[in-house]
């Protein structure tokens, strides 16, 4: 006979009640796990997307700079443009290593699928160090570089002449295919900037400029210089670090919603555990009296009921983590419908710490919830407990 066995046997007495109580804890843990995994996944995804953009600063037209940055990350048609001549002024700022001009546009084909075209110059390769091109970067008119997803979707090969989706029967030749980057680049079609400007009818215009600094520690200085240049009034200069923080803040409402759900679920689970153990104490009052007569101390009785609470919470935590793992895809799909900006890659990415925190929270709630009933059980005087009507020892 061991303490664990003694408390485990209680599951046989009220299996339904214990299961419902455990399910309550499991739901709370699942909500918390999803929240933490989302917080981590979103942050990691956003960081990944920004890193793969390869720039320290993004220069966009006047308007909401974060909407514009979001367009640059996801790919879309832009509502306003920069003058191409601003590029010279940006490049003239001291400390700029690379200033890569971009003209982006998106078309929808007959099936409703979006194709994003990105016009760039050869210096884009200096920003995209993670790119591996099968073939070569577009160097001649009409050449295109396609992302891995585009190649797979259309089953295009290097050297193939293709009709550009969404355009008015315009054609191009695939000069290169990007190896998968796990970013939005996988879904883009890159072409020469001059080709894009002609194709989209935006000659001498850009949608944004990606800027890499010689020394990222001189960010503040570079941003001030860019804002102070002649074109400074017509463009927004957005450091990526600010963008990361700002977009992160935009999803705070979703995070707060999830946190609220997790908090309420934990409160309900705690109340459920407490109530369940309280009922067990009431039902087993005479048993408690018998155990006290047999030599159980106050602390033995406390330990018995408290360990029972811990078992419920541990099992609930394990079940909750498993439930959340199984439901991660559903949660992710739901989150994507709610978020103003969802980075590529998985939004729900757990760390080892996520599971540890969930177990710790479940045990903490169990400890608090189990304290009162366990204390009440332990405080029962043996003679009072023996004469109680409750229980059937």
């Amino acid at each position: 006979m061991t303490w664990i066995l003694l408390s485990l046997r209680e599951w046989q007495r009220r299996p339904l009640r214990m299961s419902i109580t455990t399910a309550g804890v499991a739901l709370a843990v699942a909500a918390l796990w999803s929240l933490l995994a989302f917080a981590h996944g979103y942050k990691a995804g956003l960081r990944n997307d920004l890193d793969k953009l390869g720039a320290h600063i993004i220069v966009v037209p006047k308007g909401c700079p974060y909407d514009a940055a979001s367009l640059a990350l996801h790919g879309a048609s832009w509502p306003c443009y920069l003058k191409a001549e601003y590029l010279k002024q940006v490049r003239a700022v001291q400390g700029i290593a690379v200033a890569a001009p971009v003209l982006m546009n998106a078309y929808f084909d007959g099936s409703g699928a979006q194709t994003v075209y990105v016009g760039v110059e050869g210096n884009m390769l200096r920003l995209k160090r993670n790119w591996h091109v099968n073939g070569h970067f577009p160097s001649r008119a009409g050449e295109i570089l396609i992302g891995a997803d585009v190649a797979q979707r259309h089953m295009w090969r290097v050297g193939q002449a293709v009709r550009l989706p969404g355009t008015d029967n315009k054609r191009g030749v695939v000069s290169g295919i990007l190896a998968p980057t796990q970013s939005a680049d996988d879904t883009f079609i890159h072409l020469r900037l001059a080709d894009a400007q002609r194709l989209f009818g935006h000659r001498n215009e850009l949608t944004h400029i990606l800027v890499q600094l010689q020394d990222p520690n001189r960010m503040e200085h570079a941003v001030a210089e860019l804002r102070g240049c002649g074109a400074g009034f017509d463009m927004n200069v957005v450091p990526m670090a600010h963008l990361f923080t700002t977009i992160g803040n935009v999803v705070n409402s979703t995070r707060a919603l999830l946190a609220g759900i997790a908090f309420v679920a934990f409160l309900v689970a705690g109340a459920g555990v407490s109530n369940s153990v309280m009922m067990a104490v009431a039902e087993r009052t005479r048993e408690i009296g018998v155990m006290r007569a047999l030599g159980a101390s106050h602390s033995d009785i406390f330990r018995l009921f408290w360990s029972q609470t811990m078992q419920v919470c541990l099992l609930g935590a394990a079940g909750g983590v498993m439930f959340a793992l199984l439901g991660a895809r559903v949660v992710e799909a739901w989150l994507r419908t709610r978020l103003p900006f969802a980075p590529s890659g998985s939004l729900v990415q757990p760390e080892a710490a996520t599971t540890v925190i969930c177990f710790a929270c479940a045990l903490f709630i169990g400890s608090v919830a189990g304290l009162l009933p366990a204390w009440r059980a332990a405080r029962l005087a043996p003679t009072v407990a023996m004469n109680a009507q409750g229980g059937r020892a």
Partner: protein, 230 residues
């Protein structure tokens, strides 16, 4: 039949009481459950506590079992004044020197026979596998070792309760109406076990209405309205 035996407060008595009183409060009413009760029970005796309902028998048993403390007077068990012991010391005394048998058996329904018997050893932090097997043999329930209480007859449940009371090798066995829920045949089997335990040198105090059980005791404490009758 004995009642008050002042001369036997002397050494040698395993349990002794001197002017023992226990008063309860029931609302505004004071209930004198025991009044000036004095007696002595030497080691190795089987003593019956008899009396009508409400005469104070169970109160006396609870005091002897360190489940409660006297309001006044002195109650000694194994030389220790129970009234002066704190809760922890009384629990230790209960665990190490006292075995309890209840009218309603008090078996835990979720535990097997063997686990029920081993329960007090868990509280005493002892490993008692062999002792449990010996006791199962003693109460002739080896074949029922893995059964649950609801699978046993009343007599078998009481024999399990007796084995449980003995698992920590106590010096005294306190039984509250041990045959109260049994028919005469199974009650006789319990009485037979008590007689065997008596031969092993155990001190046994039983609260009983059972004439057969009272008849085999060497002494009886007769209580009436909380007082020991001469």
């Amino acid at each position: 039949m004995i009642s008050s035996i002042p001369d036997e407060y002397s050494e040698g008595a395993f349990i002794s009481a001197e002017n023992l009183c226990k008063t309860y409060r029931r609302g505004i009413e004071e209930v004198h459950a025991l009044r000036d009760v004095s007696f002595a029970i030497p080691s190795g005796e089987l003593v019956a506590v008899v009396g009508q309902s409400g005469s104070g028998k169970t109160t006396l048993l609870n005091l002897m079992g360190c489940m409660d403390v006297p309001t006044s007077g002195v109650l000694r068990l194994g030389g220790q004044n129970i009234g002066q012991l704190n809760e922890m010391a009384r629990t230790r005394l209960r665990r190490e020197q006292i075995g309890f048998v209840f009218q309603h058996f008090g078996l835990l329904p979720t535990l097997s026979v063997r686990e029920n018997i081993a329960l007090p050893a868990l509280f005493a932090r002892r490993r008692v596998q062999q002792r449990v097997d010996e006791l199962l043999e003693k109460v002739r329930l080896t074949h029922r070792r893995d059964h649950r209480p609801h699978e046993l007859s009343g007599g078998e449940m009481q024999r399990v309760a007796i084995a449980r009371a003995l698992v920590n090798s106590p010096r005294v066995l306190l039984a509250d109406e041990p045959t109260g829920n049994l028919d005469s045949v199974t009650g006789a089997a319990v009485i037979q076990i008590f007689q065997e335990l008596l031969r092993d040198g155990l001190t046994i105090v039983v609260v009983t209405h059972n004439a057969e059980l009272a008849a085999v005791t060497k002494r009886q404490l007769v209580l009436h309205d909380g007082k020991l009758q001469p």
